[in-house]
């Protein structure tokens, strides 16, 4: 230390100044190729930061060591090719200036601190010695991080939300908190992971966002293909991550997710930078390598080392034509490239067929020499579970991790464990890092020190599903043209105003981080939206055992369109007091204009036939037939869409039903009884309800004051409305909406 201080003192009088001495040299000799917008080899020497950042080959300056600095090695010709390649080289004086400046610390100004060498990410992966906890402890010690662990109840709420996407029920919470075993946290995590359906039900959303998979979206007139079925079953099977990637990048079997490489396409022409194979290159590089190829899909990047050729080189692995012409900003360049991976060291002979190129791509991404993919995946999981990645922004994995050791340990271990995603979750959530108290301040972009997980907001899916778990009332999905609906988790439903307000994204692009800031428009939906009101209101009725009756239909025509032939109805109506003839719209362009016909409606009675005649309804009307005193046995009719409705602006699609009593218009088709998780016990007293709601929603006991407030709201015998209001007040509270 003393020596170095002395050195600094002695040389201080001769400090080289970057701005007045170094910059002019670089400007004169290097700017022809490295002047800013031109960045040969990805290197710009335009300004101080660019010089320090270096180029494609890494840093060009090693502060305090001119001999190891590529800039000097090239300028002297010690490493070929010598620079500049043409024109006069650097003079001895110029070289001496550069050398002194670097040896003095490559400071931006003589009085500034020496430059910090740029973090250089490596491709290969070496597992640091010791355990994860050893590495974390060393980090805590170095950075004075106070170490403690959150309570059992808080831990349970975290892991239930992070593994199942649901708050724990009071029973589940009690079972955990009363467990005396010292290994109970690990056991709980394993138990949660072992419930593959609930686990997949939650992590489906994480991967949907990344892989921009969306079931409910139309095709935009072009190609887009759902991979939901594959994704859910792969998660439920805990498919090894390398195979998971392999099937995405090299789909072979019919059940494989070829929709990922298909991308999102709209009818018509697309920009060259949005052809399906370029999309595939952008997406695979972003999701799995943390490399942004968006700029350089159109032109050489101004902000990174990546060039147009790099994006097209990767795209050529996904393209039917292995030789791609580079198109710069939608103008053809006449320059071509074949398949070329972003890391040339991993290039594989790619073969002639598209299948071979897909296979080669899949192999390069999970090549054992490729540490980038496991690091990127580890970082994404870490960020998902902790609110901030080990590297941020998480889409630029060239950034410096706050602990390269922790990142590499997890990444190496993940690869060694056959890319087991469930292991990765277990490793993270059972680590001391995850168990630290949460940090309530926004993470700074610079100078971040890890002190615990960030406070996170529940996602739309976690929030809605947790409310469903509390009340036992789940959203219903009527998929396609089926005679039965089922209770589902929110992720399986089309986006709604509520889920969109709570941050569910459009998945037209890869979403690697959801916006989590609460906004006024969002909260308007929470405060006054019909969606949440109805969900809670149905939930309240269910908790009070007062759900509205939903009589089964006696007839369901399924969807009928203008061209569907009419359907005959012949129903047993003996013992019925009335018959309800219902038409429900199924997505007509103009439901109010659809004319439907119930022709030749007849009642077969003990005394013969009673002709009722023809009935006409729009797609939103109902007829009620009074059968009392008629001794009717059968109801006969023919149903269909009136020919007048066969118009492009009406485009009728309706469904005919018959009910024996007043239908519940929310439940025209029966719902399979099975729910995502078991329903809360029925017939609870008011006070039991209060205790239960607080315990489940907030993961803690209700306080005396809260209990009093809730009682006052519910009155002696709560009505569904009163209970809805209590549920809302809890649901809208920050404590419920946050993972603390």
């Amino acid at each position: 230390m003393r020596l170095r201080a002395l050195f600094v003192c002695v040389s201080a009088w001769a400090q080289v100044d970057y701005q007045t001495q170094v910059h002019p040299v670089l400007a004169a000799k290097c700017f022809a190729c490295h002047g800013g917008d031109k960045r040969s080899g990805g290197l710009s020497l335009r300004d101080y930061q660019s010089v320090i950042d270096g180029g494609r080959s890494g840093a060009v300056i090693v502060p305090q060591s001119s001999g190891d600095s590529l800039l000097v090695q090239r300028a002297t010709g010690q490493i070929q090719p010598k620079m500049p390649p043409a024109g006069p080289g650097l003079t001895e004086t110029e070289l001496a200036t550069l050398r002194s400046w670097i040896d003095q610390g490559a400071r931006p100004a003589p009085t500034a601190a020496p430059a910090k060498p740029r973090f250089v990410p490596t491709l290969e992966l070496r597992k640091p010695g010791g355990s994860l906890e050893d590495l974390l402890n060393a980090y805590y010690k170095r950075n004075n991080v106070k170490v403690s662990a959150v309570s059992d109840a808080m831990y349970a709420r975290r892991v239930y939300l992070d593994i199942w996407g649901l708050v724990p029920s009071p029973e589940q919470l009690a079972e955990f908190t009363t467990d005396r075993g010292s290994d109970k946290r690990v056991r709980l995590v394993r138990q949660l992971l072992a419930h593959r359906e609930n686990y997949a039900g939650h992590w489906f959303t994480f991967w949907n966002d990344l892989l921009r998979n969306e079931d409910s979206f139309g095709t935009y007139g072009g190609d887009r293909k759902s991979i939901s079925k594959w994704l859910e079953s792969s998660l439920a099977a805990n498919l090894a991550g390398n195979q998971f990637l392999g099937q995405l990048l090299n789909p072979r079997r019919p059940e494989d997710p070829d929709g990922f490489l298909t991308g999102v396409n709209w009818r018509g022409d697309s920009s060259a930078s949005q052809m399906p194979w370029v999309q595939a290159a952008q997406n695979s590089a972003q999701i799995f390598l943390g490399i942004n190829l968006k700029c350089n899909s159109c032109h050489d990047s101004f902000i990174s080392k990546w060039k147009l050729k790099d994006a097209y080189g990767l795209a050529a692995y996904y393209s039917p034509d292995p030789k791609l012409e580079l198109v710069r900003c939608d103008a053809k360049t006449g320059e071509f490239t074949g398949p070329q991976f972003l890391y040339p060291a991993l290039n594989r002979p790619s073969g002639e067929s598209l299948e071979e190129r897909h296979a080669a791509a899949a192999e390069m991404f999970v090549d054992p020499r490729n540490g980038r993919t496991p690091r990127t995946i580890v970082n994404r999981y870490w960020a998902q579970l902790m609110g901030r990645g080990i590297v941020e922004p998480r889409d630029d994995m060239d950034g410096e991790p706050w602990s390269p050791e922790v990142l590499d340990w997890l990444a190496a271990e993940l690869a060694a464990r056959n890319w087991d995603f469930q292991w990765l979750i277990e490793a993270i959530v059972t680590s001391s890092a995850y168990q630290l108290p949460s940090v309530a301040e926004p993470a700074p972009a610079k100078g971040f020190v890890f002190r615990g997980p960030q406070v996170r907001r529940l996602t739309a899916e976690q929030l809605i599903d947790s409310l469903s778990a509390i009340t036992g009332e789940w959203p219903v999905l009527e998929r396609g043209n089926q005679k039965q609906a089922r209770y589902v988790r929110e992720a399986h439903r089309p986006a709604s105003p509520l889920s969109l307000a709570l941050g569910r994204p459009f998945r037209d692009q890869v979403i690697t981080e959801r916006a989590t800031d609460a906004t006024t428009l969002q909260m308007l939906e929470l405060v006054n939206g019909k969606g949440l009101y109805e969900h809670l209101n149905r939930g309240a009725m269910r908790l009070l055992g007062r759900e509205p009756a939903a009589p089964p239909n006696l007839f369901d025509s399924l969807a009928m369109r203008a061209t569907t032939p009419p359907v005959k109805i012949d129903l047993d109506v003996s013992n019925l007091k009335e018959a309800w003839l219902v038409v429900a719209d199924q997505g007509s362009y103009s439901p109010g204009q659809v004319k439907t016909d119930w022709t030749g409606v007849e009642l077969i009675t003990a005394n013969g036939t009673e002709k009722i005649g023809d009935l006409h309804t729009t797609a939103v009307e109902t007829h009620k037939l009074d059968l009392r005193g008629k001794n009717a046995r059968r109801l006969q009719a023919t149903v269909g869409i009136n020919a007048e409705s066969n118009r492009s602006d009406i485009n009728p699609s309706v469904r005919f039903f018959v009910f024996g009593e007043q239908p519940n218009y929310h439940r025209l088709i029966p719902v399979l009884e099975q729910r995502p998780v078991s329903a809360p016990p029925s017939a609870l007293t008011r006070d039991e309800l209060i205790r239960r709601i607080f315990r489940q929603a907030l993961g803690r006991d209700v306080t005396a004051e809260e209990f009093r407030l809730a009682q006052a709201t519910l009155g002696e015998t709560p009505t569904p409305e009163q209970l809805t209001d209590l549920l809302w007040a809890v649901a809208a509270s920050p404590e419920f909406q946050l993972v603390l």
Binding site: G218, Y220, G221, N265, W266, R267, G268, D269, S271, S273, Q274, Q282, N292, K294, I303, D395, A440, P442, P444, A445, V455, F506, D508, Q509, V510, I511, T512, E513, A515, D517, A518, T519, T520, L521, Q522, M523, L524, L526, V527, N528, K530, Y533, N537, Y589, S590, R647, D649, N651, R700, T703, E706, L709, D725, W728, A729, A732, S733, P734, Q737, L738
Partner: protein, 465 residues
């Protein structure tokens, strides 16, 4: 993908906002604004220009007439401006033409096949999807760049578009969004203007009293939580947003949404249906300090302006819906002294023609069967999607008065022959009127995304002043 950041004088970066993820504005120097409020009147589905604001030779319906002979199915009528004739059925607008500028040379983008929602996306964001970033709607850009005029009034209000319209729902949703600018700048949706008040009033199911008592319970519970202090900035954001949302509903501005407060006579002048009442709502919101309002005739495939058959008959009805309320909106704003600082833009994703699909030299695959010879009234009308010419109207906000810009040929293919207007330049003109430089950009993922494509939009100066 993260939220983006705006830039001033290009180099001068504003300090990043509180949320690390918020996009940074990179504003460029702009001319002084000539308008504070923008109202877009959206003719959804492709408004036939030769049937509305660019009439050509009139041919009455007669069975046996070749389709190719028909350029207009309406007679031209005079307007109060000597050199401007428009189409029968637009008599009210004809009377206010001296307050505005008519552009006849809008050329829609060449996007290959026609897909309404894709052209609408292109019109509203300036970019053709797919894109690598979620592009913001014009209204969202204005909301983010200028902010609200009145803090209690959402800066971006969208009137008349139901988002559930079948197969194209997702595509329409894809641009009714603030995209990378963040949810706070997204549209405040009012589907049916007659019920607009309901969007800012406690739900019917709840009612005022319950709404208040429920909120009081929420306040008490929040205050009394043993973890009341936990959660930091995330908790504060939730508390603040819930209060703001409630405040919006209590505010005097909320009354602007309530059309029942409008005098009967005035209400009747606008009441040609949903679109007409949307114009009334736009006027009321403008009076209350709205920043951006779009009122649409509503896009539903094959309905409204999307005339694939019976074009003439349906256009009669569309004109009935739009004529009186648009003229009334102009007159009412003028009477209130607001027209000078309110820019009204009437536009559509493209025009229509009986014969040409796309542009004459860039035809695309036909999507409508048009017989060579008309044999039924349903064949009479402009049923194909024409992208070479379309009409845009500008009123107020500094736009020239009684001005005609651009010209189309009098014979088929009736293409643009003078002063073509692209979406980039139209947007640049609109942004300039609002005091936003067309070179303004937002930084997202470290790269700039400009409010006109690649910052290349050039204002058409002659439209203003």
């Amino acid at each position: 993908m993260k939220m983006p950041s705006v830039s001033v004088n290009r180099r001068e970066m504003l300090a990043a906002s509180l949320a690390a993820a918020a996009p940074r504005l990179r504003a460029a120097e702009a001319k002084p604004a000539t308008a504070d409020t923008l109202i877009v009147l959206w003719m959804a589905g492709g408004m036939a220009q030769t049937e509305t604001f660019d009439p050509k030779r009139y041919t009455p319906y007669e069975s046996g007439t070749p389709s190719n002979d028909v350029l207009s199915t309406f007679k031209p009528i005079d307007t109060v401006v000597d050199n401007i004739k428009i189409s029968e059925g637009l008599e009210n607008i004809a009377k206010v033409m001296d307050r505005g500028t008519l552009i006849r040379s809008y050329q829609a983008g060449d996007l290959g096949f026609i897909l309404h929602s894709r052209h609408q996306y292109h019109w509203h964001t300036g970019y053709a999807p797919p894109q690598t970033a979620a592009m913001p709607h014009l209204g969202a850009v204005i909301s983010r760049t200028l902010g609200p005029r009145n803090a209690e009034m959402p800066a971006f209000v969208d009137v008349g578009q139901d988002m559930e319209i079948g197969a194209e729902s997702a595509a329409v949703k894809a641009f009714h969004t603030a995209g990378f600018l963040g949810a706070d700048h997204g549209p405040f949706m009012v589907v049916n203007p007659s019920n607009a008040a309901e969007t800012v009033r406690p739900l019917k199911e709840l009612g005022d009293r319950r709404f208040q008592s429920r909120r009081e319970l929420w306040r008490q519970l929040t205050k009394n939580s043993p973890l009341a202090q936990a959660g930091g900035f995330q908790r504060d954001a939730i508390l603040r947003s819930v209060e703001n949302a409630s405040r919006l509903m209590d505010s005097p501005s909320a009354k602007a949404f309530d059309l029942s407060l409008e005098p009967e006579k005035s209400y009747a002048r606008y009441n040609t249906g949903r679109f007409g009442l949307g114009c009334l709502l736009a006027r009321r919101l403008t009076e209350s300090g709205a920043r951006f309002i779009e009122v649409t005739t509503e896009y539903i495939p094959f309905r409204n302006w999307d005339t694939h058959e019976s074009g003439h008959e349906r256009t009669v009805d569309m004109k009935r819906q739009i004529d009186a309320p648009i003229a009334q909106l102009v007159l009412d704003l003028e009477e209130r002294g607001l027209l000078n600082r309110t820019l009204i833009v009437l536009a559509s994703e493209f025009g229509r023609d009986m014969v040409t699909e796309g542009k004459p030299d860039k035809k695309v695959k036909d999507q409508v069967t048009v017989p060579d010879i008309m044999t039924e009234p349903k064949h009479y009308g402009m049923h194909r999607h024409f992208t070479d010419a379309g009409c845009v109207l500008l009123f107020g906000g500094g736009a020239k008065k009684g001005f005609l810009y651009g010209k189309t040929a009098d014979e088929r293919p009736c293409r643009t022959i003078e002063n073509p207007v692209s979406i980039e330049n139209l947007h640049a003109s609109i942004y300039q009127a609002m005091g936003i430089s067309p070179e303004t950009s937002y930084e997202i993922e470290k790269r700039p995304i400009y409010v006109t494509r690649d910052g290349k939009g050039k204002p058409i100066e002659t439209l203003f002043g």
